[in-house]
């Protein structure tokens, strides 16, 4: 059972904003869904990956890439060829 406070905390961890008027509905739906997930408690054993997984590596050589203009073309805020981000400090 998660509370509205828990949901608020998860929203902050995930950096998804949540409006105060959405909190009740989100909490209610969240509980219904994780209650359904509890069926997994009955699954026994631990993971043994039988999947055909293998590493895909390549030589570290420089290849053509997108231009700086292309990379910056969708950024909303930029300055002197750089992307501008919110302040971290």
């Amino acid at each position: 059972m998660v509370t509205e406070k828990d949901v608020q905390h998860i929203a902050e961890l995930a950096d998804v904003g949540i409006n105060p008027d959405e909190l009740g509905t989100f909490t209610h739906q969240f509980n219904a869904i994780i209650e359904y997930f509890d069926i997994l408690d009955r699954v026994e054993g631990t993971t043994t990956f039988t999947r055909e997984l293998f590493n895909v590596l390549r030589e570290d050589v420089v290849e053509p890439s997108l231009s700086q203009d292309d990379i910056l073309s969708n950024a909303a805020a930029k300055e002197d060829g750089f992307i501008k981000a919110p302040r971290v400090m």
């Binding site: 998660v2 949901v7 998860i10 929203a11 902050e12 961890l13 995930a14 950096d15 998804v16 904003g17 949540i18 409006n19 959405e22 989100f26 739906q29 969240f30 219904a32 869904i33 994780i34 359904y36 997930f37 069926i39 997994l40 408690d41 009955r42 699954v43 026994e44 054993g45 631990t46 993971t47 043994t48 990956f49 039988t50 999947r51 895909v56 390549r58 997108l66 292309d70 990379i71 073309s73 969708n74 950024a75 909303a76 805020a77 992307i83 501008k84 981000a85 919110p86 302040r87 971290v88």
Partner: protein, 432 residues
């Protein structure tokens, strides 16, 4: 001959988010064929939004690998189709740009998340379309709209340029009016791509064959159990009867891991989504983050306004399931359950060639019928097993229930996409 086609469809179903009025095309196998592309697949110079406000105005600077292949085949990319935001939904109602309507009954949903692609094909606006399938998002709308849709074996089609939602589950795949169209499109998009580290070197160059004499078809009891509408089950059983008339042999079987499959699927996809969608923060693309605010405040504001409720719900569910103290309870158990699903399929496929059942447990829902998220998730129960196991699965129309189309689902062994195509083709040829 290379050229240009004019594309001005009457889009009364809201199937398209973007249309290209003048679409150029080259020469090749699909010369001049109008192909629609789901809006989570990158197209150079054409807005690509994933039906989300957070990507409104985003113009990809590169083509997805499959889009490059489409162009090389001579096809004309005529537009980008509507979808559930980031592929998260079973109805296409989770689009930030309004729902797509089902051309068979405009009071009903087309299914999702590739609902726009399915509607565009069903309404005859395009001959074929690309969709993506994370937990049934090609097969569900194909079934609901009465068209054909294939989820390929994981790795046979490159995901490079597909805007990721749940990497370990999703595949791009072909949708069309007929099995032949789907097979032709699969022939164009399948093959190795070094830009996708999960790519398999398994090109597809197959022409459908209707010869299925002696084919062994597994019929899992779970696909006809509680929750599957009688009308749907009846139509699918009749279709399987038709396959028997054509010389196939049916074998009862059971997939006990189905009990946990849906929970395993939703834990896995929400965990992957919580990581994948972290990139949408209004810095490199999308609506501007307020650079004067501190980064948490700025990101939360952009993501609250840019993501719809279902997307935020799934990001939060994944964040919760991966958080300290819960990993073992949810994610780790989901991976065990996932392995059990793969093991069940592997055991059954030692005895049978394909598995058949309904694609969806019901016909298309009425608009707004599935307002509760969990009840919407439960509708995916028959499609998610193929994604968890990475196996190919096709939905082919098989009659109607209450006047609405029903889909017959055929699942096959890994890399045997050709065989599921053949079974679907045999059925299609026998009834048309």
């Amino acid at each position: 001959m290379a050229g240009q086609i004019t594309f001005e469809p009457d889009d009364r179903y809201n199937a398209f988010l973007t249309t290209c009025r003048h679409a150029t095309h080259g020469t090749g196998k699909l010369a001049g064929v109008a192909v629609a592309v789901k809006d989570n697949i990158s197209t150079t110079g054409i807005e690509t939004t994933c039906a989300s406000k957070i990507l409104k105005g985003y113009i990809p600077p590169y083509d997805a690998h499959v889009v490059g292949l489409l162009k090389a085949s001579g096809a004309a990319v005529v537009g980008k189709t509507n979808m559930d935001e980031f592929g998260m939904g079973t109805t296409t109602e989770n689009s930030a740009f309004g729902p797509t309507l089902n051309p068979c009954d405009t009071g009903r949903v087309p299914g999702g998340s590739s609902g726009g692609s399915a509607a565009a094909v069903a309404a005859g606006m395009v001959r074929m379309a690309l969709g993506t399938d994370t937990g049934g998002s090609i097969r569900c709308p194909a079934a609901f709209c009465g068209i054909v849709g294939l989820k390929p074996t994981y790795g046979r089609v490159s995901r490079f340029g597909l805007i990721a939602y749940a990497n370990s589950l999703e595949q791009i795949g072909p949708m069309g009016k007929t099995v032949t169209d789907v097979s032709d499109l699969m022939g164009v998009i399948a093959g190795y791509d070094r830009h996708d580290s999960t790519s398999r070197d398994k090109p597809y160059s197959h022409s459908p064959s209707a010869e299925i004499r002696g084919l062994r078809i597994g019929i899992p009891q779970e696909y006809f159990g509680a929750g599957v509408d009688a009308g749907v089950a009846g139509a699918v059983k009749a279709a399987i009867g038709k396959l028997e008339e054509l010389g196939a042999v049916t074998v009862p079987c059971s997939i006990p891991s189905m009990e946990y499959a849906l929970a395993a699927y939703y834990v896995t996809c929400t965990c992957e989504a919580s990581s994948n969608l972290a990139r949408f923060d209004g810095v490199r693309y999308g609506p501007a983050a307020d650079t004067k605010k501190s980064w948490h405040d700025a990101y939360q504001e952009v993501r609250r306004d840019g993501f719809g409720a279902e997307v935020r719900r799934r990001i939060m569910l994944g964040t919760f399931a991966l958080s300290s103290g819960y990993y073992g309870k949810y994610y780790a158990k989901a991976q065990v359950a996932r392995e059990n699903v793969r093991a069940d399929f592997s055991r059954i496929f030692a005895d049978v060639d394909v598995i058949a059942g309904p694609t969806m447990p019901t016909i298309a829902f009425r608009l707004k019928e599935k307002s509760d998220p969990l009840s919407m998730y439960l509708a995916d129960i028959l499609t998610v097993p193929a994604n968890l196991a990475g196996i190919p699965a096709i939905s082919v129309p098989c009659g109607r229930s209450e006047g609405m189309p029903v889909g017959l689902q055929i699942m096959g062994r890994p890399n045997e996409d050709e065989r599921v195509i053949d079974v679907a083709f045999a059925y299609e040829q026998a009834v048309n």
